[in-house]
Symmetry: C2
Subunit: 273 residues, 2 copies
């Protein structure tokens, strides 16, 4: 089956255009897409070059290329509209109605959504990412006073990626702590964590999925047996229950889904980037 | 000045809706927005509750709330359209024209863009995040054979957040290596790196900005003097030049902008999430 050519084109990073078009295209699981992202298309020459590529893709594939665009420069956008692809102008579709509701003109070249729009928020976000690395995997528990959130879980339950996503995307100061064998056996919250109870959130996972992940990492070890995984998961869940911690099962959720749910359950302020 | 109420509503994570509306709203820097994100609005009761909130916001503020939505469930979306806010249907605006070009119906409930659509890609992405943590800040250089990219830079030039973003967002296996005093003095690539020359990318930064960042971290140390920052930056840039490495100045670029530029300059395949 031949592929449908897709071009994602922006005079900025192209990240918004990529995310939106990805969201739209996943609604058509039966179609093969050949996706090309071309960011920083911000000169006449680059625009001309892109038009040539799109027109050639039409000739080569015989089907109309889909062209998703986000442009802040109107002249470059207007030039691009002359290509032979089908244009989906992701900003343009909403800016005119927004201008009419808000009764102000949009500021085109100033609106660089993935640039450093607000230096204070931006610095906070970098601080949050550095903090998540600093307090990854049980490191530096002495600095938990700065945490807004502390994720708990057995080894390989998905703590690190979620902590980093929360920091990167929402600017949350998030630590994560692996429940050790002795924590699990004692069936109590580690004493170093008990004072931060209102910041704690438990991650859990189905034992068979945990076993699969651990097997890929350390095949043949006791750590990767189904018995061990079952025991650890049930001990961890029991600690969450006894301590009345909020928790989530990561088994079939993506990083984004887990992160959004934690933000909601813990009532954390979203400050999305 | 009173704020314009904004509601970002989704029956999924709301992340696409947040990013798109953020991009659009930054085009109106003169307007104050009071932004509320409500993800996982996936039952009749939740939809009714959201409608009530929006209608109350209109009464309280006296201005029409902006309502950005991404829904996969048509019935819930249709119900939401009855609220008194101005609706911007971020998916709806494009799905119908896409269906007509592609000549297939979209698969509504299946199209969960931030879920685990493709388990192989998803597992690769988690692997990339774990690798970026494993090889952060010069750790585990023995595992550089797995890297697709190795970022170099002086301390606090922005290596860690960029590595993690590239892993999280594009699934890139990215290590980062801090140039040490002895590396800088020798004016040569460290021997452990020389064999990976085609994976290396240099980050640089203006000395006054570096000094500011280091000052916030370790005020009063030699590390944070402008003389030290100037010397380290010039030595690092000299190493990049001599070794003919590609490089970028992070001073006034956001994580997203640096990451997009690196992807482009190093010709890495974008696999965006």
């Amino acid at each position: 089956m031949s592929s449908r050519p897709v071009y994602i084109i922006s005079d900025q990073t192209g990240i918004t255009a990529e995310m939106m078009s990805h969201s739209l295209l996943t609604q058509f699981p039966g179609v093969n897409f050949d996706v090309n992202t071309l960011p920083f298309v911000d000169t006449d020459d680059k625009v001309n070059d892109v038009i040539k590529q799109i027109d050639q893709a039409l000739e080569a594939s015989g089907v109309e290329p889909l062209v998703f665009i986000t442009f802040v420069d109107d002249a470059h956008r207007d030039k691009l509209l002359t290509c032979k692809g089908r244009i989906f102008d992701l900003f343009g579709a909403f800016l005119t109605p927004l201008e009419s509701v808000l009764e102000v003109a949009s500021s085109h070249s100033m609106g660089v959504s993935h640039g450093i729009v607000d230096p204070v928020r931006y610095t906070n976000r970098i601080g949050a990412v550095n903090y998540a690395v600093h307090c990854d995997d049980g490191l530096n528990t002495k600095d938990y006073d700065q945490a807004e959130l502390i994720l708990l879980g057995v080894s390989r339950a998905g703590k690190s990626p979620v902590s980093l996503y929360l920091a990167m995307h929402f600017g949350i100061y998030c630590a994560n702590y692996p429940l050790t064998d002795s924590d699990l056996e004692s069936q109590e919250l580690p004493s170093s964590l008990a004072r931060w109870r209102n910041k704690l959130f438990g991650l859990t996972i189905r034992p068979d999925r945990l076993q699969q992940i651990r097997h890929e990492r350390k095949s043949g070890s006791r750590y990767a047996t189904i018995q061990q995984c079952r025991m650890e998961v049930s001990q961890a869940e029991s600690i969450y229950m006894r301590s009345r911690l909020k928790s989530a099962d990561t088994t079939s959720l993506s990083i984004e889904e887990i992160s959004s749910r934690i933000m909601q359950k813990m009532n954390l302020k979203r400050d999305a980037y």
